[in-house]
Assembly symmetry: C2
Homo-oligomer: 407 residues x 2
């Protein structure tokens, strides 16, 4: 007998008919003799409806009250799903985040989970009852309702799985797994049967938004096997797990990309200790997140310093950097907000040489100029002109034969 | 500085504009230097919307899950009201029934309040914050969400007022107070400035549905002065309180009535100990509530036994009674489902004689035949043919000069 945690997102529970379909899937697990915990989001559209009500009153409502408001969305779903399960003759009990004791910090609208008290839920599971938990929400140590931010239901599911030492945490979405790259760009993209947590983190943060990053981190930290599946199509989805002997022997698992990048360079900065902090400190103070960072030594004891930010932050960052440039006595500030980042991701990189040169060769063959390069243990990212995104992704997909099952 | 508890029902918070209007009223109290706790219902229409969702799944959903579902209605309102108060520069914090620790028994959908832990709310009030509480809901000792049943928000408000020893509990509704009788029947009906708890209980249970009976009982038990006011019109409403020297010297406070009655009589039952139980036991076992009960000794050691039930229960009761009649060897069962009950209510009755004869005289003058009579310390009820309801109410209203302010 296994203990399974399943999570269904807003689209999967977007109507009474879909809630009934979810109930049927849950009942099948229960009937097979496994124990099951189900985490659900608000019905699609419901969160937007609630946000609209709030915005009619105040464009910027207090986060504490916003959390009280939004958390009702999932509470509606848990009750309806239990009713649908009962109707099928399946014992089920619903729990809000507060009831199941998903303890968070008090950062309203983006709270982080601190711990879960699983004891009560355990008793219900032992009694043969399906446990249905409201995703996305918790309580702080004062009993205030908190929410985990958009996509937080994934994190709730992983946290429940961790607390209950579940055998698998299954995230049902509207895609049927993790692909080697976005099929809308490369139709030959292939669904992966398995991927490691580290690869998944790189894929997610680089733009393949299948799962919330925090959920993947959480799963990796607490050793929870995570599976992404489709709510609407049959299939085994993609298992996200630790490296083991059964892993595919692929050098590369996939190609991620990020369209919304902009790059800025400060040229001819006098090279002295603390220069990186002098440049990035003011950017960070303006709450702008910096992605890639590259520093080259130039001639004559000066350095060139380049970094990327989200495209929306480009104008503000340019302004800050220009001011910094004056203070530091740099030569020039230049920038470009029509660039994209393309990344090869794969744990196989660690033990295989020649990946980078194959990558650069494939791009060169297509005449794609590489503007920046950054590497980590399991990924190589390049920045290229926006217009080369599709071409670059397809060239790399072919160069690494990602459409073929690994041997 | 006074501590005021205000309660606003679903119609009063039925739209964003109305919520903003409630916020303005609440802020006025706060600005005057008083402390204030506000209890709110779900926005009108919201509870029905949620019920419809549930009914799509199961016509008879589990009460526990129904409570989880319905309690979201008030939770939405508390968040929106706090946002509206913030927008007006008024500090406010929302609390669900569970957060404020409204402890109930576990009778889902009709739970009864056991106690309230007021400490946390006290701290917020001390800090000058408006406390906004979700009506209608609580938690049992297992932390399950419970609801108090329709109209339960009144009870929540009274319970909060009792726990906090509030100076007054103000119930805002769509009527501007308690009237001597229903103004739709007698246009000369006069609003009462004051009424006692006992009178209010008789008025409410007899059909003048201004306040939930349980709320009035609760207020009486915990000595909470209760005031009924209109959300939409200015005015002092009606204060429901204990008898004191300042009370109006009225003999009669009002005339209540109940349209939905039916009466049944079992004739010629052999008069022996336990006969009342033999007759009413099977009725009660069928969950049928009995209202008036009258037993007359007939001739020849038999008795006639008459009682009234809700008109909807008439066919079932007739069936049960016919069976009982056979068992007891009674002569006959007769019934009438086109009767109404009209009641005079007033604590003044206790110290004034001749009330009953004035009543019977007034009805006789109009040719209204009295079918049953029942009396208590502060009320006299008569059962008459349905067609005499309006005529009877107006005749009594005039006979006791209820349209005139008492001297």
């Amino acid at each position: 007998m296994a203990l399974i945690v399943q999570k269904y997102g807003g689209t999967s529970v977007g109507s009474i008919e879909r809630i009934q379909a979810v109930a049927a899937k849950v009942k099948a697990v229960q009937d097979s003799g496994d124990q099951i915990v189900v985490v659900v989001s608000a019905m699609s559209g419901e969160t937007n409806r609630l946000v609209s009500l709030a915005k009619e009153i105040d464009y910027c409502p207090a986060p504490r009250e916003m959390d009280v408001l939004l958390s009702t969305g999932e509470q509606v779903t848990i009750a309806l799903l239990c009713m649908a399960l009962h109707k099928m003759g399946c014992e089920a009990r619903s729990f809000t985040g507060g009831q199941v004791q998903i303890l968070t910090d008090n950062a309203h609208s983006k709270a982080r989970i601190r711990g879960i008290e699983g004891i009560r839920v355990n008793a219900d599971l032992q009694a043969g009852c399906v446990v249905v938990v409201a995703g996305f929400q918790g309580v702080d140590d004062q009993g205030n309702i908190t929410t985990l931010g958009r996509g937080g239901s994934d994190t709730t599911a992983v946290a429940m799985a961790a607390a209950l030492k579940a055998d698998e945490c299954q995230i049902f979405t509207d895609v049927n797994g993790v692909y080697t790259t976005d099929p809308r760009i490369e139709p030959k993209a292939r669904k992966l049967d398995r991927i490691t947590f580290e690869e998944m983190l790189e894929m997610a943060s680089l733009g393949s938004k299948v799962l919330q990053i925090r959920a993947v981190e959480f799963a990796g930290k607490y050793n929870v096997p995570l599976r992404v599946l489709s709510s609407f199509e049959p299939g085994e989805g993609t298992l996200i797990t630790f490296e083991d002997e059964g892993m595919e022997e692929a050098k590369i698992s996939g190609i991620a990309f990020n369209r919304d990048e902009a790059k800025l360079t400060i040229l001819g900065v006098p090279d002295q200790p603390g220069v990186a902090y002098s440049i990035l400190g003011p950017v960070s103070n303006a709450n702008i997140e910096v992605d890639m960072i590259i520093q080259n030594i130039a001639e004559d004891d000066t350095t060139d310093f380049t970094f990327t930010v989200h495209r929306n932050d480009y104008p503000k960052t340019l302004e800050i950097l220009t001011e910094t440039s004056g203070i530091l006595g740099a030569r020039e500030v230049i920038g470009d907000d029509s660039i994209v980042k393309v990344s090869l991701v794969g744990v196989g990189m660690r033990s295989h040489s020649g990946i980078a040169s194959t990558m650069f060769e494939a791009l060169a063959k297509e005449g794609i100029n590489i503007r920046m390069i950054s590497t980590s243990e399991i990924k190589i990212s390049v920045v290229v002109d926006e217009k080369y995104l599709e071409l670059g992704v397809r060239a790399l997909h072919e160069a690494f034969a990602l459409d073929e099952e690994p041997q």
